[in-house]
Symmetry: C2
Subunit: 304 residues, 2 copies
């Protein structure tokens, strides 16, 4: 059982020698979800031992190069590696057109199916109903259409307590209902409480990704109560005006979202190249929300 | 005075965690020439302290992603860094169309001039007549139009030997002609030999870049006598057939070109990801041409 986030890039538009553009990999029970795909993502994936074959879903927050330029090479690499499994890509328009044209321009015939799902709308949308996970998009506030993502583990079935069911002679249907959290009332009036014979497997966990965005009041409600929140923090207090002008956030604003949303932990990223180290940004965030941390390339956050 | 090559990438189409796709930077007297631009080139430029502002010319051998995918991000980075100096790009068609469309798609307005020069033809072409350098393209043999490049330092003016010119009372025009290597015959019949009063500054040096190509007989004549030859060596002897089929060379074939051309030194690169280390390729090349070396990321070859 895992619910683990690996950070592959923490730079904003100008990468540095050790800060790559945005890319995150979420591992949910060994199914991998790639979130944004800046230049060099595939090299970072190799560096941090991300298994290419386990990625079937890629989410692109918006069509700025530092979140997208690693995608074309990655699609080619999947092809060269002999991929056959369909790949699902979620991105705002016109990603579908751009990719189709790119493949044509470079005469690339993908041997696997590539399904591009267009993200749109001004409200929360349900993007993916996976076996163990739901994924939702929500609108952000940037210079171009930009979306955040909420990854929420599905509620797992309750576990049966073997020693408690011995005398009940449960049917398969009764077991199924108990595992879903229902109580059973039998014909003779006997009641079997679900919490008598089952126990909750584990609390479902959640991760929200807030890509490039300026602060807006509604944002914290989209990510309310998540266990782990990533929020961009391109600038510090020293560049609050620039943040507003460019559709970005300061570390302090990111922390305010985390605080207002009551999240478990906050990860900061997308740092401007003007900050040699993100230590100051981390410090400013912690003044508002103590459980804030500046991400680094290769950082792993395990919330399983 | 410098004529120095830095290798930024040595992988073929599939990069690994420590092998980046093709990109070389040639420093000719502090003017930098970028040759090919695979994904991650700008990160490698930062890692190896390449000064972005000194690059005014970029040469792209062919339009395969592993030689090209770093270009779009680099063009954006130049823009974000406030570049104003025009940039000259040399590439086969339809690079000009692709780039124009890309800039439009991503709504990027370059604040600097970008002049795309289309490389074409089935013979040697003179691409650039720079102050200190001539650059030529020559055709290679690959699955798509692919070109090699020859960088040849111009012959420098000869240096005047101060103590020798004292009695001659030379005019400015005479000095100019002597520096170019001419002898002077004056009206009275007096001859001033150029080698009497001048000395050769230094021997001009040259570098040739043979990107993706299968072996063909004419190739060695294009690079005859260069001081430094880069030649792709995607495969070893164990994959000679695959090399032929995919329009690539083995290390041994690269070395044969170096030997037949009588070059000074050979650098190998563009290694297939199937070779964990290029040591075997280097060994196979050395059997044919002893001064062969497998390039590594960050390798510097100084031939000034």
């Amino acid at each position: 059982m895992s619910f683990r986030l690996t950070i592959l890039g923490t730079s904003s538009a100008l990468p540095t020698s050790d800060r790559y553009p945005t890319a995150h990999v979420l591992n949910v029970h060994e199914r991998l979800f790639l979130i944004d795909c800046g230049e060099g993502t595939q090299m970072q994936m190799r560096r941090y031992k991300i298994r290419f074959g386990r990625i079937n879903h890629i989410f692109i927050s918006h069509l700025h190069g530092d979140h997208f330029f690693g995608l074309y090479p990655l699609l080619s690499t999947f092809n060269l590696m002999g991929r056959k499994t369909p790949l699902h890509l979620y991105a705002p328009a016109p990603a579908d057109e751009l990719i189709a044209r790119h493949l044509k321009d470079f005469d690339i015939n993908l041997a696997y199916g590539l399904e591009v799902h267009t993200i749109s709308g001004k409200s929360v949308r349900h993007l993916l109903d996976d076996k163990r996970l739901d994924v939702y998009s929500f609108p952000l506030k940037h210079r171009v259409k930009s979306y955040g993502f909420l990854f929420r583990e599905k509620m797992a079935d309750r576990n049966i307590i073997r020693e408690e069911i011995a005398g009940h002679n449960l049917s398969i249907s009764e077991i199924g209902r108990l595992k879903k959290g229902e109580d059973i009332t039998r014909e003779g009036g006997e009641v079997i409480l679900c919490n008598e014979v089952t126990v909750m497997a584990h609390q479902p966990v959640s991760y929200a990704f807030c890509s490039d965005t300026g602060w807006f009041p509604k944002l914290s409600s989209y990510v309310r109560g998540v266990d782990l929140l990533y929020h961009e923090a391109t600038f510090g207090d020293d560049n609050e005006e620039l943040a507003m002008k460019t559709g970005h956030s300061t570390a302090r604003q990111a922390a305010a979202v985390a605080r207002d949303a009551g999240v478990g932990r906050l990860i900061l990223g997308h740092f401007s190249a003007r900050y040699r180290s993100p230590a100051m940004l981390e410090e400013e965030a912690r003044q508002v929300f103590p459980l804030s941390e500046a991400a680094r390339e290769g950082s792993i956050y395990d919330i399983s």
